[in-house]
């Protein structure tokens, strides 16, 4: 009896009740959505790092194919965005192949990310297309992209061309994802932060919304107790009322998360250069735009 009566009371109070329920639901929805985004942040970052691995290919990368290849990765900019260009030349019939492509492009062939292909079609050839000489024979699949918006292309060359190019490396394998990030310690910190910074304010918000109708709520439960409700029945009525808002809010938050994550995924620049420095200054400094130090995690180091 208590649950149907609780639902009826929760929604039968006219605009005030509906507004209070709606605010509580919004509070719960915001909390759920933020929590889901927070909890998915690390797995997403891990996935980005995994997809980033092939960009770290060097002559020291472990062999992944029987035959070697020549490899020269450079990064430049177009309209403020990083454009990654990898020149490759197979040194045998079975060279290493980066993720997201079926085979290494041969001389005069190019594979590009969908975003780069689209961009090349919309701007004059002498601004971008001419940086990728050859015929575009395909696109790089999601496994080879950090994000859908990534601008990356693989240009097939002859071995002779690349042997003559300063900085080209002879590789025997494509760099593979390394050890996974240890999440245990991170989650301990994360949960504390989430509790304090995200869930805390949401709980305060929901509590404040609940207090808006506190007087009426008290009147309601006094009346119900007087009419003979046990403490358990009264608690069930109160819980039903709150649960209705929280369930609706959780559903709303989940749907919001599902809708927003697509937007976040397509606009995320994680793992991509986000600092507004020029190609030349970066190359001159030899700093990685991922960790901004002189490291080997990104192929922007100046050729020695």
């Amino acid at each position: 009896m208590s649950v149907p009566l609780g639902i009826r009371i929760a929604f039968a109070g006219g605009r005030e009740s509906v507004a209070r329920m709606a605010l509580m639901a919004v509070g719960a929805a915001v909390g759920v959505a933020l929590l889901l985004f927070t909890l998915t942040a690390m797995p997403v970052l891990q996935r980005h790092i995994d997809r980033l691995a092939w960009h770290r290919t060097t002559e020291a990368s472990r062999p992944t194919a029987p035959d070697p290849a020549l490899w020269l990765a450079v990064t430049d900019r177009y309209a403020g965005r990083d454009v990654i260009r990898v020149h490759v030349a197979a040194l045998g019939p079975r060279p290493p192949v980066p993720p997201g492509v079926a085979r290494l492009p041969g001389p005069g062939e190019v594979v590009v990310s969908p975003a780069l292909g689209e961009l090349m079609r919309t701007v004059p050839d002498d601004q971008l297309r001419n940086r990728f000489p050859g015929q575009v024979i395909g696109t790089i699949g999601p496994d080879g992209l950090i994000a859908p918006a990534e601008l990356v292309g693989i240009v097939g060359r002859t071995p002779r061309e690349l042997h003559a190019t300063h900085g080209a490396l002879e590789i025997r394998g494509i760099e593979q994802p390394g050890k996974r990030i240890s999440l245990a310690g991170f989650y301990r910190v994360l949960i504390s932060l989430v509790a304090v910074l995200i869930v805390g304010p949401v709980v305060v918000f929901v509590a404040m919304v609940t207090r808006v109708g506190a007087a009426r709520r008290e009147q309601r439960f006094t009346a119900i107790r007087l009419a003979g409700a046990t403490r358990l029945q009264t608690a069930a009525l109160a819980a039903t009322e709150t649960a209705a808002a929280v369930i609706a809010g959780t559903l709303l938050g989940w749907l919001g998360f599902l809708a927003a994550r697509t937007v976040v995924a397509t606009t995320s620049r994680w793992g991509m250069a986000s600092r507004s420095s020029s190609k030349t200054s970066r190359r001159r400094s030899g700093r990685c735009c991922w960790c901004w130090s002189r490291c080997r995690c990104w192929p922007w180091r100046p050729p020695s």
Binding site: A12, T222, G228
Partner: protein, 228 residues
């Protein structure tokens, strides 16, 4: 008071709120079907007495018995059952659930007792004409006049067939005409159903409806008086 065993008895009731004593050894009994008025100035302990007798508050000491059985020590579940089946309540502001239409408010004790919604509402509908509330069953408490709200509270107090109704300043928020109507209805209907009433009031015109009056001051009875 008749010579028969009282329906409800309070003996040696003490109740304090922090350092402030509200009841200081109250003794009171109510016979079946009797209308008892408890009078006294504000702060004399009238409402506290009513709450202790009705099992809403537990006295610090003393005992309350219904048909000779202790009720002040009953667990919450049993006291709730008493409030639902043996007692009815009419308070100053009706104590109706603002979100429920009047019909469901009247039916509430039956709904809480486990009766099906249809049967409970049907039982409530039978009470409306008797209290002059015909056609108002679907209105929310906020849409009712003060006297109508109190009549709905009376219907709710009587619907489960209680043996005793506790009324705490039932006409306190009404004008004199509506107050007379409400008291007339409460007393007449209770007499018809042989239901006793304990009415707490400081208004002599309300107390005039009672079979017996007691006057309280500082948590004690100072003037028991039988109504001729």
């Amino acid at each position: 008071m008749s010579g028969a065993t009282p329906l409800l008895t309070g003996r040696g009731l003490h109740k304090s709120f922090g350092p402030t004593p509200a009841l200081r050894g109250m003794d009171l009994s109510v016979d079946a079907g009797e209308v008892l008025a408890v009078m006294g100035p504000s702060g004399s302990g009238k409402s506290t007495l009513l709450h202790c007798l009705a099992g809403i508050l537990a006295p610090d000491s003393g005992e309350v018995t219904l048909d000779g059985r202790r009720v002040d020590q009953l667990p919450d579940r049993e006291r709730s059952r008493l409030r639902r089946t043996e007692f009815g309540f009419v308070f100053q502001f009706g104590q109706l659930v603002p979100e429920l239409p009047m019909l469901e408010n009247v039916a509430l004790p039956l709904l809480l007792g486990g009766k099906g919604r249809r049967a409970a509402v049907a039982a409530a509908e039978e009470w409306l004409p008797r209290l002059g509330l015909d056609g108002l069953g679907h209105r929310l408490p906020g849409e009712l006049a003060g006297g109508q709200g109190q009549r709905a509270a009376i219907a709710r107090a009587l619907i489960a067939g209680p043996r005793l109704v506790f009324a705490d300043e039932p006409t306190g928020s009404l004008d004199s005409v509506a107050a007379d109507e409400v008291m007339e209805l409460l007393v007449t209907t209770a007499k018809d159903e042989r239901i006793g009433i304990v009415v707490v009031t400081h208004e002599p015109r309300v107390a005039a409806y009672a079979d017996r009056r007691v006057t309280m001051r500082d948590g004690r009875v100072v003037q028991p008086a039988a109504v001729p």
